[in-house]
Structure formats: structure tokens, C-alpha cells
């Protein structure tokens, strides 16, 4: 039991260090500690399930230990800027004013192909248009264009726009979302009237129905199953 506890702590710390040294690229969208806990927990918990000769407690102790470590680290992360920097590193500025920072590229072991691929994910094909490209601590790349390259906003054009609000689902695969309907200030009677207008007998004839604050409706009937 004590061995399992100590081993879990050692493996957790070793994984933290190795993943931290491996750099941001390895992490995807999870933070360092979340990644380690996710990888370890699934693996550790499965052993006593597969082998009934191993006491269940040998699986529970590591899981509980990891969970506590994760909660403690997340807590310290929130409170300490130094610890956050120590654990997750700092964001790397890969492009500044249209110029690729080669030192940061080498430091993050990122190739130009990977950088351009990431930029294309943001619909950017020309590096010269990028004011800043920042590799965040969770491994994602954020790109900020030069002001002249940014899409024009309604505010810049002095155009007044109406806010349609957040579209909510009111019928989901034949089921009425009563809470959403209530939040939008509608009742079932109103819904039935709208369905009748669309030749639907009831909610069961609807696959998806959405409504926004401007009473705009998106309607998709159920496909007939042959």
C-alpha cells in the first residue's frame, strides 16, 4: 500500500518533468497536469479491473493520489504566478511583426511546415500579415493579424447591427426543451402553432428546432425512415 502510494507520487512527478521538458507541442489542448492525470488514471484504474488477483485498493490509491495531486497543483496554479510559470512555462512568441523568431522555433522544436499548417488552420497563408503568432502554454497557436489585415467590423463601418442573441434548441430529436422554451419567453402553445405552420403533427416530427431572441427559427424535420 505504501509502495503503491510512493510509486504513484514518483511516477506523477517524473511524468510532469518529462512532459514539461518535452515542450508545449506534445500537449494538445490539455494543460500539463491535466494531461498527465488523464493518461495515468485511465491506465492505472484498468489493472485491477483486468486482473482480479490485484486488490482493488491498488487501483484506488493511485487514482485518489493523482486526483489529490491534480487538485493541489491546480490550486497552487491559481494562487502563484511563479508556480504557473514554473509548471507551464510561458507563451512563446513565434512571429512578431511578420518575422519568425527562429530561436523560439528551435526552442519549441517546431518546424516551418508545422507553423504554416497551424496558421492555415486560422485561414492565414501569408506570414507577412501576422503581427503576432503565440504558442500558448497548452500547445495551441494563436495568431493576431496586423490591423490593416483584420476583417472590418460593423463598429469600424459605423453600422448599427441587431443582436440576434444566442440561438437555443427548443426541439431536440423530437423532444421539447422546456427550460430553453421558458428562458426564451415562449410556451408550448406557441410552439404547437409554429409546428402547425410547418405541417408538423407534433414535436416527434421535428429533428431540430432552434430559436433566437429575434424570434428567428431554424427548423429541420425528421427524415422518414424507410
Amino acid at each position: 500500500m505504501a509502495i503503491v502510494f510512493i510509486r504513484t507520487l514518483i511516477i506523477f512527478i517524473a511524468l510532469m518533468i518529462s512532459t514539461r521538458l518535452a515542450g508545449k507541442r506534445q500537449m494538445g489542448e490539455l494543460e500539463l497536469n491535466e494531461l498527465i492525470v488523464a493518461v495515468l488514471m485511465a491506465n492505472l484504474a484498468s489493472h485491477p479491473l483486468q486482473d482480479i488477483g490485484i486488490p482493488l485498493i491498488n487501483g484506488l490509491i493511485p487514482v485518489l493520489t493523482l486526483f489529490c495531486c491534480e487538485v493541489i497543483i491546480a490550486g497552487i496554479n491559481m494562487k502563484s504566478v511563479w508556480f504557473r510559470g514554473f509548471l507551464h512555462g510561458k507563451p512563446s512568441i513565434l512571429i512578431a511583426n511578420g518575422v519568425v523568431n527562429q530561436r523560439e522555433m528551435r526552442k519549441n522544436r517546431l518546424s516551418l511546415e508545422e507553423l504554416t499548417e497551424n496558421l492555415r488552420n486560422h485561414s492565414i497563408t501569408d506570414i507577412r500579415k501576422v503581427k503576432y503568432a503565440i504558442l500558448e502554454t497548452n500547445g495551441t497557436l494563436n495568431a493576431i493579424l496586423f490591423p490593416a489585415e483584420r476583417p472590418v467590423t460593423a463598429a469600424q463601418m459605423n453600422i448599427t447591427t441587431e443582436d440576434p442573441g444566442f440561438p437555443s434548441i427548443i426541439i431536440n430529436d423530437g423532444k421539447i426543451m422546456k427550460e430553453n422554451l421558458r428562458l426564451l419567453g415562449k410556451d408550448e402553445q406557441w410552439l404547437m402553432d409554429e409546428l402547425r405552420k410547418r405541417n408538423a403533427k407534433g414535436p416527434e416530427d421535428v429533428y431540430l428546432m432552434m430559436l433566437n431572441n429575434m424570434d428567428q427559427i431554424y427548423y429541420l424535420p425528421q427524415e422518414k425512415v424507410k
Partner: protein, 126 residues
């Protein structure tokens, strides 16, 4: 902050639990070993009746702790110890002193090994 405090408390409790487990296991095994050693002393003097009695007491004690052992010790190790107990008991019942010596050593080793495995040493951790 409450979550973090609870996590620290759980970690401390786990650590305390592990220490308690080592202490309990050590106490149990030492108790069993004292009876096993006594039974060997009787067997050395060819007093097989009291030797079997002593060992039977240890076997019963081991079986009484069945719930604890099955929760905290790998079942394969429990099997090794139980087998060693019954091998030694069988040799004592047969009054086979030569064979009893061997099975006595085997039982001692099996019991000692479950304690050694729980002891926190560089060897056991790594």
C-alpha cells in the same frame, strides 16, 4: 481553497493509512512467526502434538485475517503463504522432521516477504 484543503487532508490520510498498514501487517506477521517458531521448537524436540497445536493457532489467525489480507495483499502472495502454511502443517502431522524443516523455512520466507514488500525501501519502491 476548500477543495485543496480536502485534497491535502486526503493525501495525509492516505500516507497515515499506508504507515498504519505496514504497522498492522508487521504486528500480524510477527505474531504468526512467534507461533511458527514455537511449533518448530516443539518439532525439534519431536513433540509433534504441541507443534501442530501451535501451528494450527497460527493458521487460524491467518485465516481470521482473510478480509484484511484480501483487501491489501495481492492474492497470489496470499496463495503462496496459505500453501506454505498447509505444507508445513502436513509435514508436522506426518511427523516428518526433515521435510518439516524445509517447509518451516518456506513459510517463514513467504510471511517475511509480504512484510518486506510493504516496507518502504529504495529496493521496494524502484
Amino acid at each position: 481553497m476548500t477543495k485543496e484543503i480536502v485534497a491535502v487532508v486526503i493525501l495525509v490520510l492516505l500516507l497515515a493509512g499506508t504507515v498504519l498498514n505496514v504497522w498492522y501487517l508487521e504486528r500480524l506477521v510477527n505474531d504468526l512467526l512467534s507461533h511458527i517458531d514455537k511449533s518448530m521448537e516443539y518439532a525439534d524436540r519431536s513433540e509433534y502434538g504441541p507443534a501442530v497445536e501451535e501451528l494450527q493457532y497460527a493458521v487460524d489467525k491467518w485465516n481470521e485475517n482473510d478480509r484484511y489480507t484480501h483487501i491489501f495483499i495481492r492474492h497470489s502472495e496470499i496463495g503462496v503463504v496459505s500453501e506454505a502454511f498447509y505444507d508445513y502443517l502436513s509435514d508436522l502431522c506426518d511427523e516428518n522432521s526433515k521435510s518439516a524443516k524445509g517447509s518451516y523455512q518456506k513459510l517463514r520466507w513467504a510471511l517475511a516477504s509480504i512484510v518486506t514488500m510493504e516496507h518502504v525501501t529504495l529496493g521496494s519502491v524502484f
